[in-house]
């Protein structure tokens, strides 16, 4: 991600060529012997101006579909807009949610559909001191110097009741705001419309670019809930009538849920017990089966006053239930 940051702040390089408006000059000097006298003469200076190439590129930055829930709010797709021309250029951004080949249409987020990276913090910031900038067409159309890049976020709300694994596509389209540039055939001349009034020429991408990214419902999620399943005090009372006092036995139940799609690698559960309780030896069960406390062939041990259960790589969806008992000191 640091590379994005670098691109955003990179000084104008020569990748797009000599800057538009550069005057290139050349002159020769000639020395000779004229009637025995060494003479030097200089030519006129041949000059011309570098015209502007207007062009833009857009690249999706998400390596995989962005995992979302259903419903969900303010989820970002990340794209990198680059001015690949050799002059400063003004761009307009438009998003499209109605694309073929998907199971649902992402909804332009209630907070706004397109955000521009503020440069303060990598990644989409919906709020806080480093909040990114809401894009408003015609109001803050980005101006990029030659070779400069800007991270753009397509921000969407996700409809409810979508099936796990559903995919939704959104695209971003960027056009140069120079009159007559966007969509024109490569090489189209635009007299006097370049940076600083130089002539411009439409580049290979026709001064426009578009890219599509996707959301997928139900990425991988791991959740844990812990509750007291049973209380039994020294007088034999249980449930709501039981009194928590020294000697009361608490049975804890932990539900470890892996949901969505994919595999949770090296999944492990660790629960250090509080000093106010003492573990009841050999009380651990995993999915209803008893486990030993020793570090041995089973997936469970009780070491350093901590309950450890090692599930290794765990494919979703699955729910593991762990129970154990402690005595109140």
């Amino acid at each position: 991600m640091s590379s994005l940051f670098f691109l955003l702040h990179a000084p104008p390089a020569q990748a797009a060529g000599a800057p538009a408006g550069t005057v290139i000059s050349n002159q020769v000097t000639l020395g000779y012997i004229d009637g025995g006298v060494a003479t030097t003469t200089s030519s006129n200076i041949a000059t011309f101006t570098v015209a502007e190439i207007i062009d833009v590129s857009l690249a999706a930055q998400d390596a995989a579909p962005v995992a979302v829930n259903s419903p969900d709010t303010s989820r970002a797709l990340t794209m990198l807009l680059t001015n690949i021309g050799n002059g400063s250029e003004n761009f307009s951004l438009i998003r499209n949610n109605s694309l073929p080949g998907n199971q649902f249409d992402p909804v332009t987020a209630a907070i706004g559909g397109i955000f521009l990276e503020s440069g303060a913090q990598t990644g989409f910031q919906v709020s806080g001191p480093n909040v990114d900038t809401l894009y408003i067409s015609g109001s803050n159309d980005p101006v990029l110097a030659a070779d400069a890049s800007l991270v753009v976020y397509l921000v969407s709300d996700i409809p409810s009741s979508l099936a796990l694994g559903s995919t939704g596509l959104s695209s971003l389209n960027v056009v140069s705001l120079t009159a007559g540039a966007a969509g024109a055939a490569p090489g189209t001349p635009l007299t006097g419309l370049g940076t600083g009034g130089v002539d411009a020429l439409v580049g290979a991408n026709s001064a426009t670019a578009s890219t599509t990214s996707s959301y997928q419902v139900g990425g991988l999620a791991v959740s844990v809930s812990k509750s007291v399943a049973l209380i039994q005090d020294p007088q034999g009372r249980t449930g709501s009538t039981a009194i928590i006092m020294p000697g009361t036995v608490l049975t804890y139940s932990v539900s470890l849920r892996v949901s969505g799609n994919g595999t949770a690698n090296n999944l492990a559960f660790n629960d250090p017990l509080p000093a106010e309780t003492s573990f009841v030896p050999n009380s651990i069960t995993v999915n209803g089966a008893t486990r030993t406390d020793a570090v041995d062939a089973d997936d469970t041990n009780f070491t350093s006053n901590t309950i450890n259960v090692i599930f290794s790589n765990t494919a979703a969806p699955v729910t593991h239930v762990i129970t154990f008992r402690v005595t109140v000191n």
């Binding site: 060529g17 290139i24 000639l30 009637g35 003469t41 570098v50 002539d199």
Partner: protein
């Protein structure tokens, strides 16, 4: 052999361009430098414009470079004419290559001249004798990208009333 063919083509092109260059006596780029002495110098920068007619025939026409985009090849042609009444000798033409451009390999021309190059403006030599230092400070053969100057040394005398041309192509970075 390909290089030779290309060189020949350029030479013939440049000869063909002589009358055109003389015809364009107006404008800053074509105007002769008014210097004392008996050699008149004219230096032009041109680009090639490709046009295709209705029959699909492609013609390449040279026009003075006014505005050009990066990637364009610019043809620099220096015409020198002995306007005096005596032969001129020891003619040496120096060109400090323009910034923001790269010399096109094999494009340097000049009839009846010895052509040498420099990477620093001080030492001029044929390409096989030019070196630059790599990052480790070791001498390595120079390439066209390293050249900063071209020098043409005209062999013998240029007779009164005669003219000749030298030049090269440079690609806008």
């Amino acid at each position: 052999m390909k290089t030779l063919t290309l060189l020949n083509l350029i030479l013939s092109l440049s000869i063909a361009a002589v009358p055109a260059a003389y015809a364009q006596q107006t404008g800053a780029q074509q105007s002769s430098a008014r210097q004392p002495g008996s050699i008149e110098l004219k230096h032009v920068a041109e680009i090639e414009v490709k046009t295709t007619d209705a029959k699909g025939k492609v013609t390449i026409k040279r026009t003075p470079a006014d505005k050009a985009i990066p990637g364009t090849e610019v043809i620099y042609t220096t015409t020198f004419k002995n306007v005096g009444n005596k032969p001129a000798g020891n003619i040496v033409i120096n060109n400090l290559l323009p910034l923001h451009t790269t010399l096109v390999a094999g494009s340097v021309f000049g009839t009846n001249t010895d052509i040498t190059y420099s990477v620093d403006g001080k030492i001029f030599a044929t390409p096989n004798k030019l070196t630059v230092k790599d990052q480790a400070g070791k001498d390595i053969p120079a390439t066209v990208k390293d050249y900063t100057h071209i020098r043409w040394s005209f062999k013998g005398n240029l007779a009164a009333g005669k003219s000749s041309q030298v030049g090269f192509r440079a690609k806008i970075n």
